[in-house]
């Protein structure tokens, strides 16, 4: 069930994107993931008395890149503010973030749901620092004798990691749209090289603002914010169960309390977060330690020049240059890796590119993607570590196009390449004799033999039972050990049987 029929869901997402910098946003400590606890938390990160923040240029550049990629306005002046609240993973007692004057304003992200394109508007994107992490469960193992059930451990390695918080308008109308948007954003930030996209490591996390309203009404319902969804699956499930929860409350005559909630995947439910009780009063004010961030036009222009071709533009080019369908072009531009793989494969095929593009696309979107999905579930990674190189796939496609390989043989070659049994397509064809039996000279005697030996099927075919031909094709294929093109065999058979 997507929604109860007479209800509408309204969703806005806040994505927290960890920017791919070497050092933190306000300090010179490293941002590498997985270091020993607190070994990458310098004096600024642990908020020693007297320390001060200095802004990382690269983090700002990442924000500009993103703004350009979503066609937003880059604010010439933006301001860092302090968001004040107490939490052990927040060493200063405030988070440095942008509030009234963010660096990126507006912009849109296109998504495709049920083959229809929809444009999702962005409110803003702003720079801020990440908080540290609390460790609860592992502590029990670390401190078995210290009553550790009553303690939490704090690791501040992540504190100060640069984040770009990307806030959408409440333009999303279903969990599916929310996931499509989150995936599009995830793909985009990797595409423009500002985030590694690793969701397991928390590089890309999403908060969902969810409200419901009766179908046909226009006023927004009271919303709840579900925090820290670090997988697309959890995002989808969290929205579904939060919407169901809200609908049930309203249908029973209750009303929704605006609050921050946490998704519990084990219980498949959301629950209110106690730690966000002060959420209504963050006492934002401009950070006196940081002067306004000004971004000159020539900086923006320089960043724009260094920006890679964006997926939307590339999609259009794939359609016009390669004659691909909009759908194929969209899929092939879903990540920089797959796009690069596709273009390398087509280029290796030779001219005219357009004649090779479609078969290359089919192989990449079909066999290749299926295997990648099996190998790697979510992040869509893998094209760079994929066992078949573009040069190999292009040779495979060439051998199909020139008739050397039937589709069945091609599949065999593909399997051999994937498993690593073979490296060179042509060598494999030679060694295993995988050359397709083709041409009427080679096939005609076999066709004649099969016609002679299968009188029953021949009679049925002549009586108008078209399916009888399939049995005859099968016999010829068997005789060639599968090395013929079934379509060519069928045509020859038909020619013989009808010509008599």
């Amino acid at each position: 069930m997507e929604t109860a029929p007479n209800w509408e869901i309204v969703i806005g997402l806040e994505a927290h994107v960890q920017l791919d910098t070497r050092s933190k946003i306000f300090s010179g400590a490293a941002t590498r993931y997985g270091a020993a606890p607190n070994s990458q938390a310098c004096g600024v990160d642990i908020a020693l008395p007297g320390v001060l923040p200095v802004l990382n240029r690269k983090a700002v550049e990442c924000a500009i890149r993103f703004g350009l990629a979503v066609d937003a306005r880059i604010a010439p002046v933006s301001v860092f503010a302090r968001k004040n609240y107490f939490y052990p993973d927040l060493p200063k007692g405030y988070q440095i973030s942008q509030y009234e004057a963010p660096v990126v304003v507006g912009g849109t992200v296109a998504i495709v749901v049920a083959e229809a394109e929809k444009s999702i508007r962005l409110v803003r994107a702003h720079l801020e620092e990440d908080a540290g992490k609390s460790v609860h469960e592992d502590l029990d193992a670390l401190l078995p004798d210290r009553g550790s059930h009553a303690l939490s451990g704090i690791d501040l390695n992540r504190a100060g990691t640069p984040l770009l918080e990307i806030v959408s308008e409440p333009d999303l109308a279903s969990a599916a749209e929310a996931v499509a948007y989150a995936k599009a954003l995830h793909s985009l930030v990797r595409w423009i090289g500002i985030c590694d996209g690793n969701m397991q490591e928390g590089s890309f996390r999403v908060d969902a603002n969810v409200s419901v309203r009766r179908a046909g009404t226009t006023t927004l319902g009271t919303r709840c914010e579900i925090k820290n969804l670090n997988s697309f699956r959890f995002l989808e499930r969290a929205i579904r169960c939060e919407a169901a929860r809200q609908i049930a409350i309203i249908e029973e005559g209750g009303h929704i309390v605006q609050e921050t909630r946490l998704f519990d995947p084990g219980q498949d439910e959301t629950r209110a977060m106690r730690s966000k009780e002060d959420a209504h009063d963050y006492r934002y004010f401009p950070d006196p330690d940081l002067l306004p961030l000004t971004i000159a036009d020539d900086w923006i222009a320089a960043v724009a020049r260094a920006l890679p071709e964006l997926p939307h533009a590339m999609q259009g080019r794939f359609q016009s240059d390669y004659g691909l369908s909009a759908y194929d072009a969209k899929v092939l531009t879903s990540s920089p890796d797959i796009a690069r793989y596709f273009e390398s494969t087509v280029a290796a095929c030779g001219e005219p590119a357009a004649s090779f593009a479609k078969p290359c696309a089919n192989w990449i979107m079909g066999e290749l993607s299926a295997r990648l999905n099996r190998a790697d579930s979510e992040a869509g990674e893998g094209f760079e570590v994929f066992p078949i190189r573009p040069a190999q796939l292009s040779r495979l496609v060439q051998r199909i196009q020139d008739g050397t390989l039937s589709s069945k043989l091609a599949k065999m070659v593909f399997d051999a390449l994937w498993s690593g049994e073979a490296d060179d397509v042509d060598l494999l064809i030679e060694q295993r004799g995988l050359r397709q039996v083709q041409g009427s000279d080679a096939l005609a005697p076999l066709v004649d033999q099969v016609i002679a030996a299968n009188a029953k099927s021949v009679a049925e075919y002549r009586a108008g039972k078209d399916k009888a031909l399939n049995a005859l094709v099968g016999q010829v294929m068997k005789a060639t050990q599968g090395k013929a093109d079934p379509q060519q065999v069928g045509a020859l058979l038909r020619q013989r049987l009808e010509g008599d």
């Binding site: 200095v54 240029r57 939490y87 502590l139 939490s152 002067l291």
Partner: protein
């Protein structure tokens, strides 16, 4: 954005304002302390209240003593691991972690 329309709405604090603010600021306050703080704060805000009478409708707020833009640093790792020195300052640590009473999310 701030407007001057509500800039004149200064009022006396009440006891619950003091306890609310003390909680936001994570300061334990006994009843006696809260009573005393209420009187002191009201005296101070009475002194502050003269601001409300000033017309500042076309004045830009001034956040910094200098009119300058943020200076940016290069994205370079400059800080070595100083965990041991930092941990030595902390009231409670174990296994490289700072310890606090269990956090309930």
């Amino acid at each position: 954005m701030p407007t001057d329309a509500n800039a004149s709405t200064t009022k006396r604090l009440e006891r619950r304002d003091v306890t609310h603010v003390a909680r936001l600021a994570r300061l334990a306050l006994s009843d006696a302390e809260a009573d005393k703080a209420l009187d002191e704060l009201n005296a101070i805000f009475e002194m502050i209240a003269v601001m409300a009478a000033v017309d500042t409708s076309d004045v830009l707020p001034m956040s910094h003593a200098i009119e300058m833009s943020a200076r940016l640093r290069d994205d370079v790792v400059t800080e070595p691991d100083q965990r041991d020195a930092h941990m030595a300052l902390a009231p409670a640590t174990a296994a490289g972690l700072y310890l606090v009473p269990r956090i309930i999310e």
